[in-house]
C-alpha cells in the first residue's frame, strides 16, 4: 500500500468518524466552543492577556486532574454500568500504596506508581471476584450497595492505617517545583507532564481496548452482556479485567491528583464529584469525551470564578455542576455518549 493510499484511507476514516459523531453533536460542540471563545476574547481584553493565559493554565491543570479520574470512572461504568462509589477510594488506596512503595521502601516515584497500579489492579480483580461476581451484573442495586460498602471500608481502613495527617505525594516528574514562563504566565513543568501523562494514558487505554482481544471482549461485554455470553466471552473474567484496568487508571489518576491536593484518606472526595461530572458530561462511555469534559469543567470553574464577580472562587465549583445539568438537559447522553438507554 502506497503512502498516498494510506493517507487517503486515513482521511476517509476521519470523515467516517466525523460522520459517526453526527451533525447535531458537531453543532453543539461548535456552539460551546463559540461561546467560550467569545468569553475568552472579552475577558482577555478586559483583564490582560497574561492573567487570562494563567487562568487557562490553571483550568487545564485542574481539568486534566478531573479527566484522569473521569477516565477510570468511564472504564468502570463500561464494566459494570453502575455508579461505583468505591472508585475514588480505590484510587486513594492505590495512591497510598504508591506512597508506601516510594516513601517507606525507597523505590523511585515513577516505578512506585507503576507498581502501585499493578497492585491495585490485582486488588480490584480480587474485589471483583469475591464481592461483585456473585451478583448478577444486571442486579444494579445490589452491586451499587456493594460499592457503597467498599467505599466505607476502604475510606475508614485507610484512616485506621495511615491516619489523617496530610502527606506530600512526591512529583514523579523531572524539574519539580520549577516552572517556565509563557507570555508572562507561569506553567509548572510538573503540570505539563501531568497533561502529557493523562493524554498518554487515554491513548494507551484506547489502544488496549481497540487493538487487543481482551479489549474487544471488554467492549463487547459493556455493549451487551447477553450477546457476549452467546459469543463465548467469559463475562466474569472480562469484567474483572475492566475492574483491574479501572483501578490501575484510578491509581495513576490518584497519584497525579495527590500531587496537588496532598495525600490523606479523603483527598479523592474533593475531586471525585467533578470527575463524575466530567464523565457524565463526556457521555459516560467515551474515554476521549471524559477528558474533553474534564478540561471543560476545569476551565469553566477557573474562568467563572476568576472573572465573574458574584460567583467568586467559592461558588465556582457549583457553577460547573449547574453547567453540566444544563448540558444534560439539551443532550441527555452527554457530549460524546452513545444514545444507549440503560436502567440503574
Amino acid at each position: 500500500m502506497s503512502t498516498t493510499q494510506s493517507v487517503n484511507e486515513s482521511i476517509g476514516k476521519g470523515y467516517a468518524a466525523l460522520g459517526r459523531l453526527g451533525q447535531k453533536r458537531i453543532i453543539s460542540i461548535g456552539a460551546l466552543v463559540a461561546v467560550l471563545a467569545a468569553f475568552s476574547v472579552i475577558v482577555a481584553v478586559q483583564h490582560g492577556f497574561t492573567l487570562f493565559l494563567q487562568r487557562i493554565f490553571d483550568g487545564l491543570s485542574n481539568g486534566f486532574i478531573y479527566a484522569a479520574m473521569a477516565m477510570a470512572l468511564v472504564l468502570i461504568y463500561k464494566a459494570t454500568t453502575v455508579v461505583n462509589f468505591a472508585q475514588g477510594e480505590m484510587a486513594m488506596f492505590g495512591t497510598f500504596i504508591a506512597y508506601v512503595f516510594g516513601h517507606s521502601l525507597g523505590i523511585p516515584t515513577p516505578l512506585a506508581i507503576i507498581l502501585a497500579m499493578l497492585a491495585s489492579a490485582l486488588g480490584a480483580a480480587g474485589i471483583e471476584r469475591v464481592l461483585i461476581r456473585p451478583f448478577d451484573p444486571r442486579n444494579h442495586l445490589a452491586v451499587t450497595i456493594v460499592t457503597l460498602g467498599l467505599f466505607l471500608i476502604l475510606n475508614s481502613l485507610a484512616g485506621v492505617i495511615w491516619a489523617y495527617d496530610n502527606r506530600a505525594f512526591p512529583s514523579p516528574f523531572p524539574g519539580r517545583n520549577r516552572s517556565f514562563s509563557v507570555f508572562g504566565a507561569n506553567l509548572e513543568w510538573a503540570n505539563l507532564f501531568t497533561w502529557l501523562t493523562v493524554l498518554a494514558a487515554v491513548l494507551l487505554v484506547s489502544l488496549l481496548l481497540s487493538r487487543t482481544k481482551i479489549g474487544l471482549a471488554f467492549r463487547s461485554v459493556s455493549n451487551s452482556l447477553e450477546s457476549s455470553e452467546l459469543l463465548g466471552i467469559h463475562i466474569g473474567r472480562t469484567l474483572q479485567f475492566g475492574w483491574a484496568l479501572a483501578a490501575a487508571v484510578g491509581t495513576l489518576a490518584g497519584t497525579m491528583i495527590a500531587r496537588t491536593t496532598l495525600l490523606e484518606p479523603n483527598f479523592m472526595g474533593r475531586v471525585l464529584i467533578y470527575s463524575f461530572a466530567a464523565a457524565t458530561l463526556g457521555g459516560l462511555d467515551s474515554l476521549g469525551g471524559a477528558v474533553v469534559a474534564g478540561i471543560v469543567i476545569g476551565l469553566v470553574q477557573t474562568m467563572s470564578g476568576g472573572y465573574i464577580g458574584f460567583i467568586g472562587s467559592d461558588l465556582a465549583p457549583t457553577v460547573a455542576l449547574v453547567v453540566i445539568v444544563g448540558v444534560l438537559l439539551v443532550r441527555p447522553s452527554g457530549l460524546f455518549g452513545s444514545k444507549r438507554v440503560e436502567r440503574v
Binding site: 450497595i145 457503597l148 485506621v160 491516619a163 461558588l315 455542576l321 444534560l328 440503574v344
Partner: protein
C-alpha cells in the same frame, strides 16, 4: 411449607391482618408508657433513646419519600439529602426568625419541596439512569455550599437553631405524660411524629394501590410499554419526583421538631448516600422497608461508634474476639474510623445474606409460618367463586406465557411426548 395457610378474604385472614396492625399499634403506644410500666427494653424510657427513636421515625419518612422515586418509579436519585435539608431549613428558619410554630411549618416545607422537587425532577423527564444519578448527586453536593453561601439566612457552617427559650415542644397538660419531667418533651414529639409518619405511610400505601400508583409501577417495570399503554409518562415522573421531595421535606421538618438544630454538613452527600443504603437495606420497593432501613441508619453506626470508643458496652463474645483489634487500635490516630470499617463490612454481609433487603428476609421467614394465598377480586369475578383457580400459572404473568389457542388440542391432551405425524394421524384415525 408454611405452618398456617390463609386464604385472602377469609375471616381468618382478616383476623391475621387486623392482628398484625394491632400489634404494630401496641408497640407504638407502648413506647409512650414504657416509663410508667417499668418494662423498657433498650432503655426506651430514657430521653436520649426516645430522641433516637424519633430520629428513626423522621428518617423512615425520608426513606419512604426516596422509595417513591427509586423503589417505585425506578429512577436513581442521590439528591434527597437536599430535600430533607430544604425542609429542615424551612422549618428552622420560620421558627427561629419568624416565630412560627413548628407544626405550621410542615405544610410550607412540603409545598416548597414539592415545587423544587418538580423543578429538579424535570431533568428526569429527559435524563435517565446514571445521568440522572449524577444530576441528583450534584444537587446533593450543591445544597450545603448554598447553605454556607447564604449564611445570613441559614446560619452558615455554624448552623441554625431557634432562640434559647423557644426550642422546646411541650405537651399540653391533658396528655398523660405531661408531667413526666424530661421525658415529656420527647414523648410529645414522639406522638406528633408518629401521627405525621403514619399518615404519610398510609397515604403512600393507598397511592400505590390507586390508578396513578399502578401507572408508576408500570413506569418502573417497563418505560416503553407504559408509554404505549397511554400513561402520561412525563407527568407521572415529574409528579412522583415532586411528591417524593415533598415527603423528604416533611422528614426534614420532623427532624427539626425532634432536634431543633440544622447545619450544612448534616444534609450533605453522606446523608444522600445513607438514605439509599437505608432504602436498600430495608427493601427497595416496599413501603414498610423504610422502617428497618431507618433503624439501621440510626442505630447501627451509633452502636458501632459507641463500641469502638468503649468496649464495655459490647455484647460478650464479640468483646473477647475483638480484643486484640482494639488493643492494636489503642492510641492510633484514626482509631475511631474502625467503626466505618465495621459498618461497611456489615453492609456487605447484609447484601450477601439478605440481598432483597430486610423486609424481604422477614417475608421469607414469615412464609415459613404463614402463607397467604392471593385471591384478587378479578379472579373471583372470573370464576364466580371465592376460590382461586388451580392452574399453576396465572394469565397475568405477561407476554411470554400468553397461551395460544390450542391448535391440536386433541393430540395435546392425550400424548405427553411428541408423536410423529404418522403416529398422530393413526391416533387420530382411531379416535375419529
Amino acid at each position: 411449607m408454611a405452618l398456617v395457610t390463609l386464604k385472602q378474604g377469609t375471616p381468618a385472614h382478616r383476623a391475621y391482618v387486623v392482628g398484625a396492625w394491632a400489634l404494630a399499634a401496641i408497640v407504638l403506644i407502648y413506647v409512650i408508657f414504657a416509663y410508667r410500666w417499668g418494662f423498657a427494653p433498650g432503655s426506651i424510657d430514657k430521653a436520649f433513646r426516645l430522641t433516637q427513636i424519633n430520629d428513626v421515625i423522621c428518617y423512615a419518612v425520608a426513606i419512604l419519600g426516596l422509595n417513591l422515586v427509586i423503589g417505585f418509579s425506578g429512577q436513581l436519585s442521590l439528591g434527597h439529602s437536599a430535600f430533607v435539608g430544604l425542609g429542615a431549613y424551612t422549618t428552622i428558619i420560620l421558627v427561629a426568625d419568624h416565630h412560627w410554630s413548628y407544626l405550621a411549618t410542615v405544610p410550607v416545607s412540603a409545598a416548597l419541596c414539592f415545587v423544587i422537587g418538580l423543578v429538579v425532577g424535570l431533568p428526569a423527564l429527559r435524563i435517565r439512569g446514571l445521568y440522572l444519578a449524577v444530576v441528583t448527586l450534584s444537587v446533593a453536593y450543591v445544597f450545603p455550599t448554598l447553605v454556607v453561601k447564604y449564611d445570613s439566612l441559614t446560619g452558615g457552617p455554624n448552623g441554625k437553631k431557634p432562640a434559647r427559650d423557644t426550642g422546646k415542644m411541650n405537651p399540653p397538660s391533658w396528655m398523660p405524660f405531661s408531667n413526666a419531667g424530661r421525658l415529656a418533651s420527647p414523648l410529645w414529639v414522639y406522638c406528633i411524629l408518629v401521627v405525621i409518619a403514619t399518615a404519610l405511610f398510609l397515604l403512600v400505601r393507598n397511592f400505590m394501590k390507586s390508578r396513578p400508583g399502578r401507572a408508576l409501577l408500570a413506569v418502573r417495570d417497563n418505560q416503553t410499554s407504559a408509554a404505549v399503554s397511554g400513561i402520561n409518562l412525563p407527568l407521572y415522573k415529574a409528579l412522583t419526583f415532586g411528591a417524593s421531595a415533598a415527603i423528604g421535606g416533611i422528614a426534614g421538618s420532623m427532624l427539626m421538631i425532634n432536634r431543633p438544630f440544622a447545619s450544612d454538613v448534616q444534609f450533605g452527600l453522606p446523608l444522600a448516600i445513607f438514605l439509599v443504603v437505608g432504602l436498600v437495606a430495608g427493601g427497595a420497593g416496599t413501603i414498610s422497608g423504610a422502617i428497618p432501613g431507618a433503624l439501621i441508619y440510626v442505630f447501627v453506626p451509633y452502636f458501632m461508634s459507641a463500641w469502638t470508643t468503649d468496649q464495655r458496652g459490647m455484647p460478650p463474645g464479640i468483646k473477647q474476639v475483638t480484643k486484640p483489634l482494639f488493643d492494636w487500635l489503642q492510641g492510633r490516630q484514626g482509631a475511631g474510623s474502625i467503626a466505618g470499617v465495621f459498618f461497611g463490612v456489615g453492609l456487605l454481609i447484609f447484601v450477601f445474606v439478605l440481598p432483597g433487603g430486610f423486609i424481604d428476609g422477614i417475608r421469607r421467614l414469615r412464609s415459613k409460618v404463614v402463607q397467604v394465598i392471593p385471591n384478587p377480586s378479578w379472579l373471583r369475578e372470573l370464576h364466580g367463586s371465592a376460590n382461586p383457580p388451580s392452574t399453576s400459572h396465572s394469565p397475568s404473568s405477561g407476554g411470554d406465557v400468553t397461551q395460544a389457542a390450542p391448535v391440536v388440542a386433541t393430540v395435546r391432551s392425550r400424548v405427553a411426548k411428541p408423536v410423529s405425524v404418522k403416529k398422530a394421524i393413526n391416533l387420530r384415525g382411531k379416535t375419529t
